[in-house]
Amino acid sequence: MEGNIPKYAPDLLRGNTDALLLFLIEEHPTYGYKLIKEIERRSNNYFQFKEGTVYPALHRLENDGLIEGEWQELPNKQERRYYRITEKGRQVLREKIAAWQGFTTAVNLVFNPARG
């Protein structure tokens, strides 16, 4: 992950890159560059992933059977490798989202005890 982000953000994000990628891929099959741009757009440029982060993560997820890749040829003859989530990937995503929500809730309770 690159970009002008707070000092501790990489630590927070570590371990959650997979969840971000799985979440976007679950919405609809997509490809690496689109994922990079989509994460940038949705986070208001907070997250600026580079190819060196996204593609290794995609390949690891595919090797673990969480996503499946398939080459497709566009009308302009350009090729792209589209990724779609697998059933195993969906289950892992649910677990990751639940873990993240539990974590953030717990942190918020510590930071803002009045809200608890």
Partner: protein
């Protein structure tokens, strides 16, 4: 294709050291990403030249991408780890049961190993294959050893005119065997080095142990004279060393980071080989063992030098990763 792009992708491929099918897929994917990025930069008003430069810069350092891609693909499954350790365990079993001189079991074990090696070689060269290749080369060494007296006789006659020349057909047979063995060993080693010198070290690691056992004057010299009982004290250390190699091969396959694979292989490999050499009874003393350890370490590192000479991968033209169809290349490791 622009030279900047080609150089960049070549640099990535140079450091990938993965199965060629996976390398092809990675480079192909990075190239499509690059095309998307250039198109976006051009649409924002940059010239083609500036867009290409900016896109190349945005992709990040080639070594970093290659290293992360390597780590994404380098960790094998437990099944692959078990398969990688299996040839060491098969041979260790022959030693531990003192059955390595059985006229049926030892040839059957090597036939199995060669068969599995050929299967793996023609089915995508998965990462577990490389520990099998080393043992598949052993029958060639054993063949050379079996004909050693013929070779010595021929050399003595030709250079010192002493004794008699072996029969012509035997000479031709031995010569053919030597040429064939050297051809197979050199060609295989170069092919594996072109993929990854570390896999070559994994492939070669049993050879000094088995070769030492085979060529040691107190070792297999007795094998061909039928004095197998004299060799039995070596069976335990040999089995232990091979079990160490089996564990190392499994760990090697399971590790993700290249540097850890490197350390595991060189450390355990050198220790196992030095232990066996120590049991052979030569050389004695700390410095003798140290010298042998350094020699064995140099042997395991020699594929790195060979890689510097022969390079990585095969020479390819522009856009070598693009196939005529969009079918997924086979991915086996």
């Amino acid at each position: 294709m622009q030279p900047d792009v080609k150089n960049y992708l070549d640099e990535v491929r140079l450091h990938l050291r993965l199965d060629p099918a996976i390398e092809r897929r990675i480079i192909r994917e990075l190239y499509t990403d690059f095309q998307d990025r250039v198109a976006e930069l051009r649409a924002s008003g940059l010239s083609e030249r500036d867009a290409i430069k900016a896109a190349t810069r945005a992709l990040g350092r080639p070594r970093v991408i290659a290293q992360r891609m390597y780590e994404a693909h380098s960790k094998g499954s437990w099944t692959e780890a078990a398969l990688a350790s299996l040839p060491h365990l098969i041979i260790a079993l022959l030693f531990v049961s003192h059955l390595w001189h059985n006229p049926f079991l030892a040839p059957a074990a090597f036939t199995l190993i060669v068969g599995v090696t050929l299967y793996g070689w023609w089915h995508g060269k998965p990462s577990w294959l490389y520990s099998w290749i080393g043992y598949s080369l052993l029958p060639l060494l054993i063949g050379g050893y079996a004909f050693r007296s013929t070779i010595v006789k021929a050399v003595t006659y030709l250079f010192w005119s002493e004794g008699s020349l072996p029969s012509a057909w035997l000479m031709m047979l031995v010569l053919a065997l030597i040429i064939f063995s050297l051809w197979i060993i050199i060609r295989t080693t170069i092919r594996v080095v072109k993929r990854d010198w570390l896999l070559t070290s994994l492939m070669l690691v049993p050879l000094p142990i088995m070769g030492g056992w085979l060529f040691d004057p107190n070792g297999a010299g007795n094998l061909f004279q039928g004095n197998t009982a004299l060799l039995q004290p070596l069976d335990g250390p040999m089995a232990l060393a091979l079990v160490c190699l089996a564990a190392t091969s499994a760990i090697f396959i399971r590790l993700r980071q290249r540097v850890l694979k490197f350390v595991a292989l060189l450390a355990v490999g050198t220790i196992a080989m030095t232990t066996v050499v120590h049991y052979f009874g030569s050389p004695s003393g700390f410095f003798g063992l140290l010298a042998i350890s350094l020699l064995l370490l140099a042997f395991l590192l020699s594929p790195a030098l060979l890689e510097a000479k022969v390079g990585h991968g095969e020479q390819r033209g522009e856009a070598w990763w693009q196939s005529s169809s969009l079918e997924e290349p086979s991915v086996n490791s």
